[in-house]
């Protein structure tokens, strides 16, 4: 399971990087860069918050090919 961003939906609001700075940082244009490491168990609640808090529903936990 990993965090996947729908790049067409994402418009760079950046909330994900605030909720989950260990896993997501923003590039110079404000778009998220997701750390590809498998999700460690002790971070469980917050990846779900990053998913829920995204105002345009562009992040999901899944196995999609989209990074």
């Amino acid at each position: 399971v990993r965090l996947v961003v729908d790049r067409i939906k994402c418009d760079g609001r950046g909330l994900c990087a605030e909720v989950l700075p260990e896993r997501i940082r923003l590039d110079d244009g404000g778009c998220p860069i997701v750390n590809p490491d498998p999700r460690p168990a002790h971070l469980l609640p917050r990846p779900q918050r990053a998913v829920k808090d995204c105002p345009v529903l562009a992040i999901a936990l899944g196995r999609s090919q989209v990074k």
């Binding site: 790049r7 067409i8 760079g12 860069i33």
Partner: protein, 370 residues
Amino acid sequence: MTRLLDSPERSGTLPHVGADFIDAIERSGLVGRGGAGFPVATKWRAVAQRSGGRAVIVVNGAEGEPRSQKDRLLMTTRPHLVLDGAFIAARVLHARRVILYIGERHENARHAMVQALHERTEPERGLVTLAAAPARYVAGAETAAIRFLNEGIATPTTAPPLPFEQGVDRAPTLVQNVETLAHIALIARSGTPSSTLITLAGGIARPGVLEVELGTTIGDAVRQGGGVTEQPKAVLVGGYFGSWMEPAEAWKLPLDHRARLGCGVIGLLPASACPVCETAGIMRYLAAESSAQCGPCFFGLRALADACTRIADNRSDGRDLSRLNRWVDEVPGRGACRHPDGAVMFLSSALRVFASDFANHGSHDLRRAA
């Protein structure tokens, strides 16, 4: 030896192919000739398993790569070979539709394909519809072609669903480049594809399309094209999504589809040209050709193109080169399609092969002015 451009236009009737034809494709080792180099048999099996008589074949003649000419030459001079491949695909995959997706500016190619279609049997003609691909770089990408045929907008979509799962009219869809389909026709005539079409561009005596045996080195292909007009500074292998190479390295490279041949464009940069200015110009083009759907591509490629241009114009603050080197690691894999990945692969090769030109750009102008 079975070649495309000197094989007979038509073999009479469509060659008979059985259910084991996909195995024959697999044995031939044929990979897609549109640029991605994906194994053809794998793609056909995925569609065959889901078809149920509903599949759609998209004959991809969009050819949006600016320097490439091989697809339109093939459609213009061997249209029946392309149609043979398309109708074989329709038969093997139990398709109910064949769509000719031809670049809107490729008028001769479209004309020849339509003429050839008029010479086909009525059941074959009944399968076919014609569509004009917009003259944009990404219009030939599989999901962009499908979105255009469904919604009239030629921009890529998020996958999944992949075309073989849900494509045109939500049916399993095969999108296949015209050269690939022509090779399919030759395989059905019991040949084995042993050649590939390339386009020679830049500082070459006879620019244009050449059919070469697979495994021919770039050096030999250049000799077949009449040789160089001027000692080249570098060779661009694979078009704008390809890579710059040092000439000495490029000459030895065999043209097969393991060698990142992409769409088959071989561009020779004359030693008198400025590689930084050339790279900046191509990056501006690729940034402008972004579909502007994904931030990392739309903003990322524009930032890369702007930084290249500042260096080329001697307006850099001195930090642009380090910005470029950081950004080329950040952009790949972060778009819905491969447009940003291709652009960044191209730029990375430029930063490698032209490292000293990027680092010292401007100093030669200053010397000249002094």
